[in-house]
Each structure stands twice: as structure tokens, then as C-alpha cells.
Symmetry: C2
Subunit: 149 residues, 2 copies
């Protein structure tokens, strides 16, 4: 029983490892063509979902250090994918937004993941999707940064 249970949990570890790999593979390819990395996708994604958010809010969503964000974010601005405007209320904070081009790239990247997940949910059916969401939600709630969200 204990041996069997360990094998069951190990297979779960591998599913997460290979599953996550598959999940990021397509966007990574698209990004590589432009000499961008996964972190750029995440920036684009979160700015797209929450336009006008501050650098600090973005940090807490990404869970990276301020300094680690700075370089990739600057690149995105230099390439004209992201623009920042000073907030009216507090002129220290910068409100981040996507340009048209930034939106287009974000849409392309996310669409590749949507397509993959959508086809998998279709094949596996709604019960499997519900179970998957339940487990993943419980897992995500263990994220060390969940309090900052």
C-alpha cells in the first residue's frame, strides 16, 4: 500500500512536471523568435488582464523581485509593447498599459495556450475539468504569495 501510494504520488509529480512543460512550450517558441522569455509573457499577460496596474501590483502577481522585473519590463517598453504613465493620484506610481502591438503579441501567446487547454477540456469532458480545477485551485492556494494577491 505505501509503496503503491508512493508510485501514485510520483506519477502526479511527473504529470505536473511534463504538463507544465507542455503548457509553456508553444509560447516559449513564439517568444524565442523575438528573443523574449517567459517572464515577458507573464508581464504582458497580467498587464492585459489588469490595464493600468502599478509596477508593485505586477510584482506581487508575478512573485519576482523588483530588480528581476526591471530589465524585462524596460525591454518591453523600449520595444513599444508596453507604455507607462505616471498616476494622477500618486506621481511615484507608474501605470502600465499595453500598446496595440503589445496586445497583439499577448493575444497570440495566450491564444496558443487557450487552444491547447480548450481542446484538452473538450476531450476530457466537463467532470474532468471540474476535478482538475478543484485540485489546481487547492494547489494554487498553497502558493507562498497568495496573501499578496
Amino acid at each position: 500500500m505505501s509503496k503503491k501510494n508512493e508510485a501514485r504520488l510520483n506519477s502526479a509529480l511527473e504529470l505536473l512536471f511534463y504538463g507544465y512543460r507542455a503548457f509553456t512550450a508553444l509560447p516559449d517558441e513564439i517568444l524565442a523568435e523575438r528573443k523574449l522569455a517567459r517572464v515577458h509573457h507573464r508581464i504582458l499577460y497580467f498587464v492585459a488582464r489588469d490595464p493600468g496596474l502599478s509596477v508593485n501590483k505586477l510584482l506581487s502577481r508575478l512573485c519576482v523581485s523588483k530588480q528581476a522585473l526591471n530589465a524585462p519590463l524596460r525591454e518591453l517598453q523600449e520595444r513599444g509593447l508596453v507604455i507607462s504613465v505616471a498616476s494622477e493620484q500618486d506621481r511615484r506610481v507608474k501605470c502600465l498599459n499595453l500598446t496595440e502591438e503589445g496586445m497583439a503579441l499577448e493575444a497570440q501567446l495566450s491564444a496558443s495556450q487557450h487552444k491547447l487547454l480548450s481542446s484538452i477540456f473538450n476531450i476530457c469532458g466537463p467532470e474532468a475539468e471540474t476535478g482538475w480545477r478543484m485540485v489546481m485551485t487547492a494547489l494554487a492556494n498553497n502558493s507562498p504569495d497568495k496573501l499578496q494577491r
Copy 2:
């Protein structure tokens, strides 16, 4: 409908992002104490599951380049966590094994993930686990390296 569907898929993207983060958080902490990284854990994991495997087999499981594996693998050997012996059949190939200490660290790292997943599966119930496995298996099968396994 399309808008709603997009939100549903976006939430799935975020579940994967935060879920994977939570999944790796504990081992990463343990590893950081020893100045090791995630790739070291993966090496230890796959060598533990398949003792005596070759460097090439390990590569295909990890999906990293030969050169990227070389440095962390050497470190593990220098620290006495991994030992390699030349194969009897083909003296070019090195058979990788864990030392006692290597096994102990691998067990510690994987146990932290087992514990997390186990408690989640318990809470969510067997149907959710089944659905989760079904979706994750479909996802993992899209892994670009699945043919090499």
C-alpha cells in the same frame, strides 16, 4: 459566450501558473539552503526512480541540453550525492546512481511534494483526482519531448 469562455481559459492559465509555483516552492526552499537549484532536484529525482541510467537517458527525461546538464550533474558528484560508474557493456556510457546522502536529500525533497499533493487529493476526493489526472495526462502528452521518453 466567447468572452465568458476566454475568462474560463484565462483562469485555467492562472491556476497552472500559481499551482506550479506552489508545487515547486517547498523543494526550492530546501534546495536554496544548500545552494542548489530545481535542476538538481530533477536530476536526483530521475536517478532515484531509475538507478543506473545513462547521462543520455537522463537528458531525454529532463529535456535540457547535454551542456546544461553537465555543470549541475558535476556539482552533485563533487558533493557526493551522485556517483557514476562506467557501464560494463559499453564503456562510453556512465551509469548514474545516488549515494546514501543523495537518496536522503531526494527523499526529503520529494516527500515535501508528496505531502502537499496527498493532502490536496484527500480534501478534493477521488473523483477530482481522477479528473485532474485525466487532464494532466492529456496535457503532458503534448510535451514536445514525449517521443523521447
